[in-house]
């Protein structure tokens, strides 16, 4: 006590002295610095988000346009069916030399000397090799077209397309450039006559895999992804909801339940590639399901999505207040009736939100699909989930490994489409939550 008074006095008797420096300025500076670090951290995160999206969009938006060359194609009988056998053998039309039609049309349109072989080769190189199947399909569908001339819009070859979009560096020496000066001149000529123009790239949405960028699209991969999402939805939602109902409402609180709980939390954090190994060894090796099938992919993704759905559903069930349960039980409902008639419907928005987020996650997942053989060159639409198919993110992975500029563009375009799907799904989840979520 005496000590205290003396110390109080001692400070009190020296009023003239300046206030003791207790480092307040330093402390405030530290405070400001600390706050700035926090702000900087958030800005760094947002900066990278912006750069990432900018990269994808700036590289990818051109993928939605494709250069096409519209040429008057003369379906000359001389070339398609010189011996007039198509009546007897319609298969003849499948093997006719359609590229010659394109060649002749180009020679006429560009005014090249047909005898100058290298020049003709350069000209025909400007048109995608997919023109062959395009013309064949036209003729097979309508044999009466033979002998007439029709304007056909053909895809330009990938490098020509890139050059037309201004993506090829023209200052590079001609010899080490994919597009030659002569071709550039022709491009200018064709553009002036209106024969060459950029149009909306519907092929990106409808075509399958192709080694030629101009004929490659995500249609087939998107169908594979759709099959898988349906399988995941049909399997994971009921199983996940049933499992959570059991764990949340019926399971006795004992070590086994505890084990299941830890197990589910752990499964949610297991690397996705491990699920791929599981699928490969159980579904393909042991159960003998076909490789590359959407069915196997769907099953693997189901197992991967289940923990997410279970965790979300359990949280939603937990959020329903006990008064609802008590009221229903008090009116004579059985426990099963209470849950299925009252608790579950009230928890449904939360369940659906969790399911959509789980589905969005499954849609973007690539690694497990690589192991079950979905890295496949699939050209045709899979007719059923048992057919070989590929998935949207796997298609992106395969394109990312291609070097051509036109593929980089398509990869980014496909990523944009994938991200749009994900944004739509997540927005749906948010809206669902906003619209139906109840605070008790």
């Amino acid at each position: 006590m005496t000590d205290m008074t003396s110390s109080v006095q001692s400070t009190f008797v020296r009023p003239a002295q300046a206030r003791r420096d207790i480092g307040i300025k330093k402390r405030y500076a530290a405070e400001r610095r600390f706050k700035a670090y926090g702000l900087a951290a958030i800005l760094i995160g947002l900066f990278f988000l912006f750069v990432l999206l900018w990269t994808v969009v700036s590289k990818g938006y051109t993928a939605f346009q494709q250069t096409a060359i519209t040429l008057p194609i003369e379906f000359s009988e001389q070339i398609i069916d010189p011996k007039n056998e198509r009546g007897a053998n319609p298969a003849k039309l499948m093997t006719a030399n359609y590229p010659f039609l394109v060649r002749d049309a180009l020679i006429k349109a560009l005014g090249i000397d047909p005898a100058n072989k290298p020049l003709v080769k350069q000209a025909t190189d400007m048109v995608s090799a997919s023109a062959r199947t395009q013309l064949r399909d036209l003729v097979v569908a309508n044999p009466a077209i033979i002998g007439t001339t029709a304007n056909v819009s053909l895809l330009a070859e990938g490098n020509i397309d890139s050059a037309n979009k201004g993506q090829i560096d023209l200052t590079v020496a001609e010899a080490s450039r994919k597009v030659k000066d002569q071709q550039l001149e022709w491009m200018k000529k064709l553009t002036e006559t209106g024969a060459m123009a950029k149009q909306f790239n519907t092929g990106l949405f409808t075509y399958g895999a192709s080694s030629r960028p101009e004929a490659a699209g995500i249609g087939v991969a998107a169908l594979g992804s759709l099959y898988m999402m349906l399988i995941v939805l049909v399997l994971a939602l009921p199983i996940g909801v049933a499992a959570s109902i059991y764990l949340e409402e019926f399971a006795p609180k004992n070590r086994l339940t505890d084990l299941i709980e830890v197990n589910i939390n752990n499964l949610a954090a297991v690397p996705s590639i491990v699920y791929g190994l599981l699928g490969l060894s159980i579904f393909i090796n042991f159960a003998g399901m076909p490789r590359s099938a959407a069915l196997v992919g769907g099953l693997v993704l189901t197992l991967m999505t289940l923990p997410t759905i279970i965790i979300a559903t359990r949280a939603a069930l937990k959020a329903v207040p006990p008064s609802i349960r008590s009221a229903a039980l008090g009116l004579g409902a059985s426990k099963m009736q209470t849950i299925f008639h009252h608790v579950l419907p009230l928890a449904m928005p939360g369940v659906l939100t969790g399911t959509i987020i789980g589905l969005a996650h499954a849609l973007g997942e690539t690694a497990p699909l690589l192991l079950i053989g979905m890295v496949a060159f699939v050209v045709d639409y899979p007719g059923s989930p048992m057919d070989p198919s590929t998935a949207l993110p796997v298609q992106i992975y395969m394109w990312a490994n291609e070097a051509e500029r036109a593929f980089v563009e398509r990869t980014s375009g496909a990523i944009m489409i994938l991200l749009i799907f994900l944004v739509v799904m997540n927005l749906g989840a948010i809206l669902l939550r906003r619209r139906f979520e109840r605070r008790w």
Binding site: R27, A30, E31, R33, F34, G38, L39, A41, G45, L46, L49, L52, T55, V56, K59, I239, A242, A243, I245, Y246, L247, F250, A251, I260, N263, I264, L267, A269, V270, P271, I273, V274, Y275, L277, L278, S281, I282, F286, L303, I310, S334, M336, L363, G364, E365, T366, A367, L370, L371, V375, P393, I396, Y397, A400, V408, I415, L418, L419, L422, N426
Partner: protein
């Protein structure tokens, strides 16, 4: 009858059983529904369950078991000359017989007669139908194949009949039991409870499946490569084996892969932890609600972007950027414009993975920081500490166990990440410390060993499962320990 047709018929029987049971319950109530113990619908479902479940169960068992019986009887019917050549040959011939059996179904009666009498060549006849055969085929094969086909057909017919009888018998049995006081609801609910239990056991089955399948394949791998050579080997050089040679000359050292995995994860954490943690602190303690309401969802977008997109980002943007900027730096300092950072490097992969991990760190830590009780905060502020001092001296120490748990969960994700490292880290397995060079990871090698044409008995592919189980074990330890810490931490403040 095809399996799906049988299933459809069972379902139709079930539907009919539902209405029959319902009607029977209504009838037994004699117009006064309140005398029924259970609602009529429950009686209907009860009968339907009796109709469908046993039949479906028998169907499943039959479908699983019948191929074994059929194969066994066909195998024993193969001539002695085949059996004497050992079991491998027997299996080979059995496979061929099954192929022939499938082919025979495509032949019409005349061709079939020609083949059975031996007057036309089996191989040519099948080739005409698009069924290729390895060798000419022998006459016993046709016999065995016919036996196989007939056994399979009869098994299918018997199965259809048995399943149908069981479905109808079940329905009839259940209908006979229905009366007004019958406790149908309790029975139905017990079945439902069983179904719920079954669903929740799938989670356990998945884990068992993961561990079991990977262990069994890994054990097959360890039969040809010793575990010590795998776990302590320092050279990774699997040398793809030619088909059938079964060459095991490759070296399967885990250490270079593990070093790369941990190194890349370390770089990623080095980047993600400070950024994520500071972002979480700012959002939990400083940000106004409006800023928080915008910044938090924006950062979480990063978590929703598929990892393949990050991989692409690393491949086309970050990698080339680091390469070019290192060349520029080198040029400014030494005058020699040579890049010292490779486009595919530990740094590229680590940086991009770090970006991906920022939202994980920040949202997990944010949750944990906001769980620290208000009273601790107020006490510190009331004693005159500034906010940053409160955070550093009070909140972070109080939240430390939870944050460590969150960081461990993040680390487990970094270790198991695949697509970013596949595209950005490179495939060269080496042990070195330069972060500007390429290294490879466990996940990259799993993908490398298992894409392409597979031959399942070579160590080159089986090693992927040994790698997988190692990865699983590492992440399992991290996860369980992290979950344990987080759980304990929650209990502390709840």
């Amino acid at each position: 009858m095809s399996t799906s047709l049988i299933l459809l018929i069972i379902l139709i029987v079930g539907l009919a059983a539902y209405f029959a049971g319902r009607a029977r319950a209504m009838a037994s109530s004699k117009g006064k529904l309140s005398v029924l113990h259970s609602l009529p619908g429950y009686h209907g479902v009860y009968v339907a369950i009796w109709a469908v479940l046993p039949a479906a169960f028998v169907l499943a068992i039959w479908l699983l078991a019948s191929p074994f019986f059929v194969e066994n009887s066909v195998r024993s019917a193969l001539p002695e000359s085949v059996h004497s050549q050992g079991s491998a040959t027997t299996e080979l011939m059995l496979g061929q017989v099954m192929q022939v059996a499938n082919g025979l179904k495509l032949l019409n009666t005349e061709e079939l007669a020609a083949v059975t009498s031996g007057s036309s060549n089996l191989r040519d006849a099948l080739a005409a139908k698009g069924v290729p055969m390895a060798n000419a085929g022998e006459t016993y094969m046709v016999e065995a194949a016919q036996k196989y086909n007939s056994l399979k057909d009869s098994s299918r017919w018997v199965m259809s009949a048995v399943v149908l009888i069981i479905a109808i018998a079940g329905a009839v049995f259940a209908i006979r039991g229905i009366s007004a006081p019958f406790r149908a609801r309790n029975r139905v609910e017990r079945v439902m409870l069983g179904a719920l239990l079954l669903a929740s056991s799938i989670a356990i089955l998945t884990t068992v499946g993961i561990v079991g399948s990977m262990l069994s394949e890994a054990i097959r791998f360890f039969q040809s490569v010793s575990p010590s050579a795998f776990f302590f080997g320092t050279v990774w050089d699997p040398r793809f084996s030619a088909a059938g040679s079964g060459g095991t000359e490759g070296q399967f050292g885990l250490l270079p892969l593990l070093a790369g995995t941990l190194y890349i994860a370390f770089v990623a954490m080095l980047f993600a932890v400070p950024v994520g943690l500071f972002a979480a602190i700012y959002m939990a303690e400083y940000a106004r609600p409006v800023v928080r309401g915008i910044a938090k969802p924006l950062l979480e977008i990063l978590a929703g972007i598929p990892t393949i997109v990050y991989g692409f980002f690393a491949l086309v943007t970050v990698g080339p950027f680091l390469r070019d900027i290192s060349a520029q730096l080198n040029g400014l300092v030494t005058g020699n414009y040579v890049n010292f950072i490779q486009a595919q490097s530990v740094l590229t992969a680590g940086l991009v993975m770090g970006i991906m991990l920022i939202p994980f760190v920040s949202s997990l830590s944010d949750d944990i920081i906001t769980q620290v009780p208000r009273s601790l905060r107020d006490g510190s502020l009331g004693l005159g500490a500034t906010r940053s001092e409160t955070i550093k001296r009070v909140i972070l120490p109080a939240a430390l166990p939870g944050i460590v748990g969150a960081l461990l969960l993040t680390a487990s994700r970094a270790v198991g990440e695949t697509m970013i490292v596949v595209l950005a880290a490179g495939v060269a397995a080496r042990m070195q410390l330069n972060p500007f060079e390429a290294m490879t990871t466990v996940t990259v090698k799993i993908v490398n060993q298992l894409t392409g044409d597979l031959e399942f008995n070579s160590p080159q592919t089986l090693v992927a499962f040994a790698l997988g189980i190692t990865l699983f074990a590492i992440t399992l330890c991290l996860n369980i320990y992290a979950l344990y810490i987080v759980r304990k931490y929650r209990e502390q403040y709840e």
